[in-house]
C-alpha cells in the first residue's frame, strides 16, 4: 500500500495541461486577425503640371469603353442604362478582344493567341480596333459609393486577367499568384501581358451628389 502511494506521488498530473493550452489557444484564436495585404493594385497617373495643358489625345470613340457610375449607383455602360454591374466583365472582355481593325502588329499579336482566344474576337466595326488601343474608362460622381466603384474596377481587372491567363494556359487565380520573382514566373507573366496593356482609366469624379 505504501509502495503504490509513493509511486503515484512521483508523477506530476499532466491531465490539465491540455486544458491550460486550450485556454491559451482559444484566446489567441479569438484575438488573431491574420494580417491580409491583399487587394486590388492600381497605379495613379502622375501629377499634372497646372502650367502644361493636358495632352490632347485623339482617340476614336470606338476604342473607349465608357462606364459611368452616378451618385445613385446606377450605371451607364456605353450609353446604356444598367442597374447592376453583373456581367460587365464579359462586356469588357469582348471589347478588349474585339480586333475590329487590327494593324500589322495587332494582326501578328492575334495570330500568336491560342485558338480559344482567337475565337472570342467578334470583329465588330463599332468596338475596339485592337487591345493596344482599347481603353476602359470608369467615371464616377463624388457621391458614388466606393463599393460599387471597386466592383466595376474589379470586373475590369478580371477581364484583363482572364485574357492574360487564357493566353498562357493558366487559370486566372494561378496567373494572379505569379510573383515575377523567379525567371519562370516572370516569363509567364510577361508572355500574358505582352501587347495587351492594362488600360483602365479612372476619370476624376465630378461634383454631383458629394461634398
Amino acid at each position: 500500500m505504501a509502495k503504490s502511494k509513493n509511486r503515484m506521488g512521483n508523477e506530476i498530473n499532466a491531465g490539465s495541461m491540455a486544458d491550460i493550452a486550450f485556454l491559451l489557444l482559444i484566446f489567441f484564436l479569438v484575438t488573431t486577425t491574420i494580417a491580409s495585404d491583399k487587394g486590388i493594385l492600381n497605379v495613379l497617373p502622375p501629377k499634372q503640371d497646372p502650367n502644361v495643358p493636358p495632352p490632347d489625345i485623339k482617340k476614336n470613340e470606338r476604342n473607349i469603353f465608357n462606364v459611368l457610375i452616378n451618385a445613385n449607383n446606377d450605371l451607364l455602360v456605353e450609353g446604356e442604362y444598367r442597374r447592376t454591374a453583373a456581367g460587365l466583365d464579359k462586356d469588357f472582355k469582348e471589347f478588349i478582344m474585339n480586333f475590329g481593325a487590327p494593324d500589322e502588329d495587332a494582326a501578328a499579336l492575334f495570330n500568336s493567341f491560342p485558338a480559344s482566344l482567337q475565337s472570342q474576337a467578334l470583329r465588330k466595326p463599332d468596338s475596339s480596333d485592337h487591345p493596344g488601343e482599347a481603353v476602359i474608362s470608369i467615371k464616377t460622381n463624388r457621391g458614388t459609393s466606393y463599393a460599387v466603384f471597386l466592383e466595376v474596377f474589379d470586373l475590369a481587372k478580371k477581364a484583363y486577367f482572364d485574357v492574360y491567363s487564357e493566353r498562357v494556359g493558366l487559370t486566372s487565380d494561378e496567373y494572379r499568384a505569379l510573383t515575377g520573382d523567379d525567371e519562370v514566373s516572370k516569363a509567364l507573366q510577361d508572355k500574358g501581358k505582352e501587347g495587351i496593356p492594362m488600360a483602365i482609366s479612372i476619370a476624376e469624379p465630378d461634383k454631383v451628389g458629394g461634398n
Binding site: G39, I40, L41, F161
Partner: protein, 155 residues
C-alpha cells in the same frame, strides 16, 4: 474470471492523451506567431468591401496603411468620413507630409516603390477617396492598393 479482470485493469483500452498538450501547444505557437498585435487603434469604421481579383504584395515593408471611414467616435469627430494615418485622423493636405515621413523610414533604394494600402470602408463615397488620391499624386506615391477581401462566389 481472474484472467478477465486482469485484462481490464491493464487499461489498454484507454487512449493515450499525453501527446495532446503537445499538439495544442503547437497550434498555440502557430497562432502566437501569426498574431499581429495591433499597435494602433483604428478610429474609423472599417468594413472592407469584397472583390475577386485580389493580388498579394510581395514586399510588406513597402506598404503604408491609410484608413478611411466614418469616425467611430462621432460626437468628437463628426459623421463625415475621415482619413486616418498612423494613429491620428488627418486632413487631406497633411497626406503629402505623412507620405514623405513614411518614405523616409524606408531604405533609400526602395523609396520610389512605396505602396499605399487604402483600407476604405464600404459606406464611403468616391469624393473623399478622390481627394486622397489627388494628394497621393502630389506626393508622388502612385502605387495604391485598394485593400479588399476575397468574395465568396455563389454560383
Amino acid at each position: 474470471m481472474a484472467k478477465f479482470r486482469k485484462k481490464k485493469s491493464g487499461g489498454s483500452q484507454q487512449i493515450d492523451t499525453s501527446a495532446l498538450p503537445d499538439i495544442i501547444f503547437m497550434l498555440l505557437f502557430f497562432f502566437m506567431v501569426t498574431t499581429v498585435l495591433r499597435e494602433q487603434d483604428i478610429l474609423v469604421d472599417q468594413k472592407i468591401p469584397q472583390s475577386t481579383q485580389l493580388q498579394k504584395l510581395q514586399n510588406k515593408t513597402l506598404i503604408s496603411y491609410i484608413f478611411i471611414g466614418k469616425p467611430k467616435n462621432t460626437s468628437l469627430y463628426g459623421t463625415e468620413p475621415r482619413v486616418q494615418a498612423n494613429d491620428v485622423l488627418i486632413s487631406s493636405p497633411e497626406i503629402v507630409q505623412w507620405v514623405n515621413q513614411e518614405r523616409d523610414k524606408l531604405p533609400e533604394a526602395d523609396r520610389t516603390s512605396i505602396t499605399i494600402s487604402m483600407k476604405v470602408d464600404k459606406e464611403v463615397k468616391m469624393g473623399p477617396i478622390s481627394d486622397v488620391q489627388t494628394e497621393l499624386r502630389n506626393a508622388d506615391a502612385r502605387k495604391v492598393l485598394y485593400a479588399s477581401t476575397k468574395k465568396t462566389e455563389i454560383d
